[in-house]
Subunit: 336 residues, 2 copies
DNA sequence: CTGTTAGCGCTTTCAC
DNA sequence: GTGAAAGCGCTAACAG
């Protein structure tokens, strides 16, 4: 099958011992200049690379990161994954990726599997079900094993580990303030992800902004059933006089735009729309959606950075930290 | 750090030799019933799992598949990845994922890296640059090493390996036939991915259909520069009288819809639109896009299946095959 | 039935 | 300067 050169073969061919070859390859000062050169030459000739399995077995490190994501069809996580992957490979790490599909059970299984596959550490974003169940045994288990974890976006206070999050609350406050500044007074908040921690923060942020102004009112629409989002949003828009919508997720915002078209409302003339997360839909809606960008790629990259730093610089009692990535409001055509 | 039970420890605690424990765990008939039970009990108690690194080092198999994708922000590949991941984990395989970002150089590097990380086989879809350069040394190298490869969607005849593709040509023929049947006569084909093999097939399919009918004419718009797609499409729609558009990629179709809005053309009354690939945008456009579904998830899953089958049933001279996944036309509101 | 031994490929300590 | 030997955790051929 695959024939890779081993130290043994190099040693035989050079009439040296395995250990001498090994040391030469590491430019050990113990070894004579001459030998080092000879060894390197042959190694280069055969394009020798140490077998990572053997190295891992020895060193108990695999240079592999387990990445556990709730979804991959969600643009936000796809972008985050891309950021993680870039940063990882830049630092010589590989990533083993698993997708829980928002299931607690799968999250548990995958983490166990990856842990047993000897990943050096984890980057993960909690599945929806895990957040609802509020069950974190599997992660505490990891901590007990001393496996580094970095959580991003969907996090929990229950587990003591590094976290990279977005200032969701502040971001939505900013977004609503923007709407108010532009003259909107009756603002709707629409969400299809009420159960997620991030949605709660975003909702709170909206209230923070609205509460400052007496003349501003906030109406909420919580869509629970994905299959009827469109009808619900349509009815909502028909039955409420509003001049702005903040979508707490991209779907909510996108559907708001579409239903407005259907009902003949003009955007942004009749209704201003701002959406959370700066994904594909925002750029492909008409008019283009003003969004709160989460910088998903940076977020993923930063998570990877933090984890890798921890892996490469092991310290006995590491103190955990939470980092907040700043969002930004990307102004496009759907708001005035 | 991580304390995992080893055979050695079990052996010590049971007063047995390592090999006896090892055999017991495999229910070797050589070993007495009694011992087998004792061993299993202790192993269960400690939740023993063999160290995969050691097993891999011995067996020269890692139960890991290298997945190389051109993009991940493209919904099609995200879906394919999901299919691959599902199928892999169902069969006890892990996946190491890399994203080439359409770069030949990255494709080469990643494949080399994964190969050296001892993945058992590869699932890959060619980067755009690789297709343009028509350069496949890196893959032929793999074949020489006898590493199984399954290519999907973006494939090449230059490399002899299993391939899973979509019947692009037939699919677009069907799509255009549909448009013609519904009364369209002046049909535009718009693409932003002219260089890709799949685009060529899709274009050919459209011609196949159009050529059958004398009164049907086909106009092509090849957008080369992503930054000006919108203007180009807008101008094109303004300057040509057409009654249908086939978008050879989702972006093309989505932008056609948006520019039609802008120009005041009604869909599907004035222009029928059909788009390739059934991604996020299709469901979130208004009106919803009629699409050619590629069943990306199935495609990915099938690629994984084929590869895993090959890995689990090694045969000396394996004959390579190409499998075609059927597409389907998903009728939605943008065509009549 | 159970144990000894060698070896997968590498690193590292300790002799020479 | 160089090499022998042990060991990472496991499997498997071979002894007893």
């Amino acid at each position: 099958m695959r024939k890779k050169v081993t130290l043994k073969q190099l040693a035989r061919e050079l009439n040296l011992s395995i250990s001498t070859v090994s040391k030469s390859l590491k430019n050990d000062p113990e070894i004579s200049e001459k030998t080092i050169i000879r060894v390197h030459e042959l190694a280069d000739f055969y394009n020798y690379k140490p077998n990572p399995l053997a190295v891992s077995l020895k060193s108990n490190k695999t240079k592999t990161i387990g990445v556990v994501l709730p979804e991959i069809l969600n643009h936000f996580f796809a972008k985050a994954l891309y950021g993680i992957e870039l940063e990882a490979s830049k630092n010589g790490y590989k990533i083993l990726t698993c997708i829980t599909n928002e299931s607690y059970q799968k999250e548990v299984e995958y983490i166990e599997m990856l842990n047993y596959s000897s990943v050096d550490g984890f980057i993960l974003s909690l599945s929806q079900e895990t957040q609802v169940l509020n069950e974190f045994k599997h992660l505490k288990e990891l901590k007990k094993d001393n496996v580094p974890i970095v959580m991003f976006d969907r996090v929990t206070d229950e587990v003591d580990c590094d976290k990279i999050i977005v200032d969701d609350q502040y971001a939505s406050k900013t977004a609503v303030e923007h709407l108010i500044r532009e003259g909107c007074r009756k603002i709707a908040v629409i969400t299809t992800i009420s159960e997620l921690s991030v949605a709660k923060l975003r909702l709170q942020g909206s209230k923070d902004a609205a509460n400052i102004f007496d003349e501003v009112s906030l109406i909420e629409l919580h869509v629970k059933d994905v299959t009827t989002v469109e009808e619900e949003v349509e009815d909502f828009l028909k039955n409420n006089t509003i001049d702005a919508v903040l979508g707490l997720d991209e779907t909510a915002a996108s559907i708001t735009i579409n239903m407005s078209h259907k009902l003949g409302y003009k955007i942004p003339e009749d209704i201003s729309v701002i959406g959370f997360t700066d994904g594909l839909l925002s750029k492909h809606s008409y008019p283009k959606l003003t969004t709160v960008s989460q910088h998903a790629e940076d977020l993923g990259a930063r998570a990877a950075q933090v984890l890798i730093h921890q892996l490469d610089n092991y310290t006995e009692n590491y103190k955990t930290k939470t980092e907040v990535i700043k969002t930004s409001l990307i102004l496009r055509d759907s708001s005035c």
